[in-house]
């Protein structure tokens, strides 16, 4: 028996969570935003917002995908610009059987403690179990620390687990952002998750390159970290760590077809299989073989992945190569099936 199987060809791609990025619009226009969001939408894509009907169809259809965990996450831009729409989606996610319902927000809506409590009560009633609050040095230019503290306290009061997400560069470490929040609010946070800013999106334009943390270890894979993501334009991706902000690797759009069909197409893509099971570094030889020079100085493998697929030429070359490999693979399978059928028939 061959103990080294064709993992990338045969294993199902599994997703932890369905993520909908409802809009490119945000009340803030942070200098480090990887999504380029702002009050008028994305710097690159403009104002793109999914309709309620489109998002509801996605949530209902996605419940039929066997390889998708029963978790739903709503993000933006700032999805809470349409609070009523968010609440309807959370209710729907609960109805279709999601056991974890989460959202990401910058907490702009929590300016007053009473209002924060009232909104958290509504969210909890709609089924929200977890709230991720974005807060760091750059958010503080647009959102008051009191609003974030109010949000954290109101979430704890109403039984919603909170994750405070803080991004850092060399000149803006985590304590700078944490010190702005009330000590009592920090004591009620479920978890604080800190990570470096990627030099992508608006950050690439506004932050000095020497200020980013970088690594030369770009190995690793992401198959267990995946989410099925619908971005504000309706395009579907296997993660929300940067690939979702690119235009070139396109598996399908929920405005044109069901997310179940798109997920099936993703599962059949050899390129995506190599990417998620082998990691983006596995794609480097394919690009170099085509004479493409690759920079290897990135923040981490997610940043590296976004770098590869943000370029139309690199993406096109990879797609062509993998389409050819898929054709060869299909031919080989056909040959083996015929051969094995012949052997079976001669035995009988």
């Amino acid at each position: 028996m061959n103990s080294e199987p064709h993992l990338e060809k045969e294993m199902a791609i599994c997703y932890n969570s369905l993520v909908i990025e409802s809009t490119t619009r945000c009340n803030a226009k942070c200098a480090h935003c990887c999504q380029n969001s702002g009050p008028k939408g994305s710097d690159l894509w403009g104002d793109e917002t999914l309709t309620s009907e489109q998002m509801e169809t996605v949530v209902q259809d996605a419940a039929r995908i066997e390889t998708l965990g029963k978790r739903f996450h709503l993000a933006g831009g700032e999805s809470f610009l349409d609070l009523e729409g968010c609440l309807r989606l959370f209710e729907l996610a609960k109805q279709v059987g999601c056991t974890e319902i989460a959202n990401t927000t910058n907490a702009f809506w929590a300016k007053k403690p009473a209002k924060a409590i009232a909104i958290c009560e509504q969210m909890r009633a709609a089924g929200v179990t977890r709230m991720e609050v974005s807060w760091d040095y750059w958010h503080s230019a647009y959102v008051s620390p009191d609003a974030v503290s109010n949000c954290l306290e109101a979430s704890a009061e109403t039984g919603i687990f909170t994750i405070l997400r803080v991004l850092t560069t060399k000149s803006h470490c985590a304590p700078e952002a944490l010190r702005m929040l009330r000590t009592e609010a920090l004591a009620k946070v479920g978890s604080v998750m800190v990570g470096p800013v990627f030099p992508t999106g608006r950050a690439a334009q506004t932050i000095e390159s020497s200020d980013f943390f970088k690594t030369d270890n770009l190995k690793g894979a992401c198959f267990s970290l995946l989410n099925l993501v619908v971005n504000p334009r309706g395009n579907v991706f296997p993660c929300c760590a940067g690939l979702d902000q690119t235009d070139n690797l396109n598996f399908g759009n929920v405005k044109n077809e069901s997310i179940t069909e798109i997920a099936e197409r993703m599962n059949n893509s050899l390129l995506l299989r190599i990417l998620v099971f082998g990691g983006p570094s596995k794609l480097v030889p394919y690009l170099r073989r085509s004479g493409i020079e690759i920079e290897m100085n990135h923040t981490n493998m997610c940043h590296f992945c976004r770098y590869i697929f943000s370029d139309p030429d690199r993406t096109r070359i990879l797609e062509k190569q993998f389409q050819r490999l898929e054709r060869v693979d299909r031919a080989l399978r056909g040959f083996r099936t015929k051969r094995d059928g012949g052997v079976q028939a001669s035995r009988e």
């Binding site: 039984g159 998750m193 990570g195 690793g220 990691g279």
Partner: protein
Amino acid sequence: MRCVVLGQSGTEVFKRAVSSETQRQTEADPGFAGLFKNICFRQELDEQGADLAVPVDRLAEWLDRYNAWFEQKCLSAASRAFMITQNRSAALTCERLLLICDKIGMLAEKVHAGLMQLQVTLDLASCIEDRERLETLLDTGVGKIYLAAPNADRKKPEPDRCLPDRCLSVVESITQRNVRLVFTGPVQFWIESGALELEGVNALNFEMSPQRCGRTGSLRYRRPFDPCKARFQLFVCVDGLIYPCDGVAGLAHCALGSIADDLADTVLGSRASFLDLKTLSAGGPEIKASEDLGEDRLGDTLPLVCRLHRKDLLKDA
């Protein structure tokens, strides 16, 4: 048929072939195995302080059997060809764990054989006092450390034992090994310690868990939607009994079985369960108890809904 299991710790990938014996025994229905992704060994030291209350070799032997059983249960029912273990972990919590650091390697070996990440809880003061043992523990390939602030349950820290430079040295030592750090206890302590300003810490992803030790300021129970799935883990307690979550730990009638049992004879196998695990997983408990908790030994360390559920279950004991 070719067969492989695939695991991941952070971004590092592990894979290995599955034996033909395991493949033969694979079952179509993963049963309760799918509900429990992670394991937590909630232990304390024995009276001599020389081993865990359930000796490490017994935990390792159980883990070996559990790994084989888990593979049989969870191989993809569709193709029977592969399975993804996803980000699974085995956590070990025990006060003064460093005293038996030389024994942890045995458990770590089995954890890694199951393609899981080993996570341990340590307190900062012990790490400062016993750097040599800390290094021995780091050598076992531990993937995540929950580092507890000193005296998190008390109001005054111990300033002379946890001087900033000694604290920073411990944190640097851990991050240099690429171990994921979770700072537990008051955020304020960690800010003041200077650890969060270290470049090596900020260059990596790290977490803080202020409520992991000490009082939580409990979460209010307001709405009937608290699915247990996110909290389900196999908790192996000091008496060797296995529980589905920390909220029912110590309630013997809620145990899934013991590490001494054959897995087939536990709730994970064929034994009937007192708890309706599937309903709890999807919808959470139906609470009958009033919100008056009285003197609950678990204090504020659990969400209120879990404490109320526990109160209901105590009546059934």
